[in-house]
Symmetry: D2
Subunit: 147 residues, 4 copies
Amino acid sequence: MKRFEPKTARFEERVRESFNRQTLMKTIGARLLRVAPGEVAIELPFHDGLTQQHGYLHAGIVTAIADTACGYAAYTLMPEEADVLSVEYKINLLSPARGEKFIARANVKRAGRNLTVCEAEVFAINDDKEKLVAAMLATMMAIRGID
Amino acid sequence: MKRFEPKTARFEERVRESFNRQTLMKTIGARLLRVAPGEVAIELPFHDGLTQQHGYLHAGIVTAIADTACGYAAYTLMPEEADVLSVEYKINLLSPARGEKFIARANVKRAGRNLTVCEAEVFAINDDKEKLVAAMLATMMAIRGID
Amino acid sequence: MKRFEPKTARFEERVRESFNRQTLMKTIGARLLRVAPGEVAIELPFHDGLTQQHGYLHAGIVTAIADTACGYAAYTLMPEEADVLSVEYKINLLSPARGEKFIARANVKRAGRNLTVCEAEVFAINDDKEKLVAAMLATMMAIRGID
Amino acid sequence: MKRFEPKTARFEERVRESFNRQTLMKTIGARLLRVAPGEVAIELPFHDGLTQQHGYLHAGIVTAIADTACGYAAYTLMPEEADVLSVEYKINLLSPARGEKFIARANVKRAGRNLTVCEAEVFAINDDKEKLVAAMLATMMAIRGID
């Protein structure tokens, strides 16, 4: 995988501060795992208040952790004066999201001045075994000053 | 807009029963508004436990109500023996999701035996004025028996 | 549908000039129909050199006319100093693209300073009857100066 | 990368036969390179009849080779009685498609009985150096009998 150079030494601190302001992540019980240049992983334990009609994790929550991982993967490569917004994403739900916990892993495919393209995979974990349940391709934008 | 013929007279009851089994919808405070053949609308009041880092509604929650509206719009046209699953979707976040409440409106673009394609728009509402904040294009699948 | 104000009176002339520089459009035999603020339509007669393995129009060509229509719909609203590039798009192929000719109709959903989001529908035409064969949701970017 | 088991020993022959029926591939000058279980690569020399307005390869042609590579990557894993159709795809255009030739490489992320999800990357080649210009995430469908 390509190696990226962060534009600020505070890239991880900035991601963790911003993540902590996302009240949704606290509401659903998600936490940041890995934060590296161009890469972020987020973990979410299953909770029975987050399901769709069959008792699996709702696709919207699968998407929320994948989107957040993509956004912060992009953010690790942005300069101090920039913030990050999601422009758009597409996600394929590959298997029912049935698991004790879930991990979303995102990485940057191309970092531009304004737009950064990321991909993420979400895995369901049961008995320490991972199964791929979703794949995302996302476009993130650096915003400077007013949003 | 094209008119659709439901395959069961219980289409609305089926949607409402299934929606009530989605614990996520209760957790976030969403409720079903309109259920008509090929069309579903869902309302979500803003809540400060559902935000991203700037205090707006998190894109994952915007997506969750759009996905759910698309899924049930497709489900209104499915026969009694079928259930619905999200195959994939793409969403553009058009404006910051800042509002007192939000409405996702979905309609079916093409209903097939196995796959149904839907689109949804999500609006933010402030002082009774609607602003478009997201647009989704989604593929839903009818499943028969166990997946 | 929302009405848009073009930023230059030459919006149609600019679209037609740019379209004429797209050698692919000439190669496949496509031509511009309607050019209005925020809206563009493109027509393509079927040709048996443009097919996939069953003799229908190849999805890549369905996509090419939808993408071009979206790009120029966005371009009608851009200022004189800007050019347009495709950032990304998603397309659903709804029915086999079997027809005497095809029309792609695009319109702008949201025009921003840098990014413009468009949607397009592609119709197959047989005996003067239109059938929807594809739906696209696309993100276009205004570029100023060299990329 | 995951290893896949083809369901027929004729998987490569079937892909090459079907590719040869795609008249678009001949029209644009594309040819099949690698065909392996779950993987297909397609090469396209640049031709000045395939451009967008700046003289680069048109996004629709970038898409056409990525879509075709995804479709045949899925097809390598389908049984004898099935044919393949594109359901939908999303593509990000990461850099201007400027090159002497282009290679689309696709691989299967998940193969199901009816739906197969693939990803593809398209590279521009100049002086034997590859540059990533596009990334696709696609859904393909197995069809049996009449579509």
